[in-house]
């Protein structure tokens, strides 16, 4: 009998989800599906609102990466009014983004995925959390929490608030970085740099010599990310799509996303998936830290670049080991800390020239940034008053939906014969490699209870519920 396993809900990722695993008569896993169970409808209810309010309203799509929504909406608002931000504003936004990535990557590595990596996938469910981690490895866990705090504090000093920042506005930034803020930012960035070196070393220890862990979830697919003249960039640049061999298959500005991306609804999920058109083909692809390191020529900062070279010499280039997302995340964390330090050393960061005025009436606009979890696009169709006629958001987790399903299948095959708790967490571990933000992917977040259904020939033959 074919059967399906349902895991519902998945904890320690952001949002609500459920998993179905389908097996055939020979107990071979033939398909796995992640169901996203809630959505809030941001794209519809922003209609009629003033476009300049989008940078603060759309932060509420996600409390983990509000900074990415804040910045991409502000980039759109710049373009709507033809107000090019002065350099000081761009430096501020990049610093805000660096802080955001430090916060998000640190919390993910240590609080969300860390328990799996550091305590083991087989650890008892009640012990597999950050609180136990604080007990088992107090120094490491405290430093990790401190690193997260530093990133969030950088975001707060620049953005006015840590969660749901407010300072990026049409044409630049609404506030100036004064000397007092600068010295705070310097101290925060310097400490973040020190701790991100420590975090990377700790992560490497866990990940480097454990081939069985690293090679747990291979998935050869296309990768998509952003580069600025071949250099990794999280704030601006062109979209680059590489094939599984690492060759550039397409490089376009994000404003042309409609020419290459198609969304499809899925009957069992509120999250739509996205396909990428390459000539006459339509391909699945992946976004996020692993992809960004696969598609870029190099990183913009020296220490992170040296780490990238070491990483590539160890694992090859490109690499399709999904588990290496965790390693890639830590290299990006280091790059962002280095960037933060160098941005603080730029004399123009404190310039009072932070906002430019509109040069034309409202026009529709599209913009993108690299959110912690991958490419984020906002697209606003506006009327002559600058009110939203239609909005379209494509978020990182949506780009990853197909890859998540495939990795789930790989994980289900690996863990299907293990004790129940390990099986469930093994499957969740696959999802957590992508650090999916289901709040974003359905433009909502909520609870992640978990139900695994095992299905054979359409019949649920076993349910695992937590």
């Amino acid at each position: 009998m074919g059967r399906t396993i349902v895991i519902n809900p998945v904890t320690r990722i952001e949002g609500h989800a459920k998993i179905d695993i389908e097996i055939d008569d020979n107990d071979k896993v033939v398909a796995a599906r992640l169901h996203v169970l809630e959505f809030r409808g941001f794209e519809k209810f922003v209609e009629g609102m003033q476009v300049e309010l989008m940078p603060t309203l759309t932060t509420r799509i996600c409390g983990t990466c509000p900074h990415a929504h804040h910045l991409v909406a502000a980039k759109c608002a710049d373009a709507v009014f033809g107000a090019v931000p002065p350099r000081a504003a761009l430096l501020q936004r990049q610093l805000l983004n660096a802080g955001s990535i430090i916060h998000s990557h640190a919390i993910h590595f240590f609080a969300l995925a860390g328990p799996d990596l550091l305590l083991g996938i087989g650890a008892a469910p009640a012990d597999r959390n950050i609180v136990s981690l604080l007990r088992a490895a107090p120094e490491l866990a405290k430093k990790a929490l401190r690193l997260r705090s530093l990133g969030q504090k950088i975001a707060e000093v620049v953005g006015g608030r840590g969660t749901h920042p407010v300072t990026a506005v049409a044409g630049g930034m609404a506030t100036v970085i004064d000397q007092a803020k600068l010295s705070q930012l310097r101290a925060l960035s310097n400490e973040a740099l020190e701790l991100s070196r420590f975090a990377l070393e700790a992560g490497k220890k866990v990940l480097t010599d454990r081939a069985e862990l690293i090679e747990l979830l291979p998935l050869s697919t296309h990768d998509l990310g952003t580069v600025q003249n071949d250099v990794w960039d999280l704030y601006d640049g062109t979209l680059r799509m590489c094939d599984p061999e690492g060759k550039t298959a397409c490089e376009i500005p994000a404003t042309k996303y409609k020419d290459v991306m198609v969304e499809e609804a899925i009957a069992h999920s509120y999250s739509k998936r996205v396909l990428f058109k390459l000539g006459s083909q339509e391909v699945d692809y992946r976004v996020g830290p692993l992809s960004r390191l696969n598609i870029c020529g190099k990183l913009p900062t020296p220490a992170a670049q040296a780490e990238l070279e070491e990483y590539r010499s160890k694992f090859g280039h490109p690499t399709h080991q999904v588990v290496l997302n965790h390693y890639a995340r830590l290299i990006e964390l280091l790059a962002c800390a280095e960037l933060a330090v160098s941005l603080c050393n730029d004399a123009e960061l404190t310039s009072p020239d932070v906002q430019s005025q509109p040069t034309h009436g409202p026009r529709s606009a599209i913009a993108h940034v690299e959110a912690p979890r991958g490419l984020l696009i906002h697209d606003y169709d506006v009327d002559d008053q600058g009110l939203i006629r239609k909005a379209n958001f494509l978020v990182a987790t949506q780009h990853n939906i197909s890859s998540i399903d495939k990795s789930l299948q790989v994980a289900a095959e690996r863990f299907w014969n293990k004790p129940e708790a390990e099986f469930v967490n093994g499957v969740e571990f696959a999802i957590r490699c992508y650090d999916p933000c289901l709040s974003c992917s359905t433009h909502q977040v909520g609870q992640m209870p978990m139900l695994i259904n095992m299905i054979r020939r359409g019949q649920v033959i076993r349910q695992v519920r937590r």
Partner: protein
Amino acid sequence: MSKVQVSFEWLSGCSGCEMSVVDLHERLLDVLDEIELVRIPILMDVKDYPKATLGIITGALKTEHDVHAAREMRKSCDKILAFGVCAVYGGPQGAAYAHKQTEIEEAIFQKNPTTRTNFIPNDVPEMLPDGVRPVDSEIDVDLYLPGCPPHAYYVAQALKAVLGGTAPEFGGHNVCFHCRRSMKKSEVVALRRSHDGPVVSDTCFMSQGILCMGSVTLDRCLAPCPQHGTACTGCAGPSENIILEPHIDIRTEIADRMSKITRIKREAIIQEMERRSKTFYAYAMASPVFRQKPTFLLRRWIEQGGT
């Protein structure tokens, strides 16, 4: 002394409230020393509803699952704290009240520029027919802490009071309380938007003709927006006078104040806020507290051609 057991549940929201707890930063470790976290789905693999002294619910009710979860929390916890503007008033997705659920689903799954499929997911939990609802529409709530998210300052106060067995003593002041901009009489004759020319950094937004919700919004944030160059958008929900006085509404309150300090006509301000009601009422729109006010005629304003 045994530790106070705390259970978290997140419904339809953004996880920003969970982040605001983590944003206690250094104080977080002290809090963790004093409490026993029995359930927090974003961090822990516990999926049932253990008994707890305090249940903290973030997010609004959007699906049948959310309703079930809220009831389970009520059953398993001695006290329930509605945490954040979504749990208290429905939150920003309350703006969906201006639309029918089917309109929203159609817009996202069928009439979307990059979506080529033409169906609405059907193998998924049903959304509540009346759209989004605050937590107390389903269960009794003992304590309310609005904010989007509430500032760590208030989170710390709330936890300290609850752990000490007392009720938190919050001020009922509005956002202006912490804003250092000065309100000045001006000769401004018309409303303007934030990008229509430079904004003076030490002067009240209302004096400059920009709609700011600070005077009608409860302070649970320490006023980061006006302190950093942007007008308040009302994310913590209305201030106490709006909640308690049946004849006061945010648009009349703002229009009264603004028409006195500028030369903008009171009626023009009211009219603009009615036309843009979805924008100005978004965060608390889902709450019947405001919907039933005699002045609150949101759906009619929208039907009359506003947005």
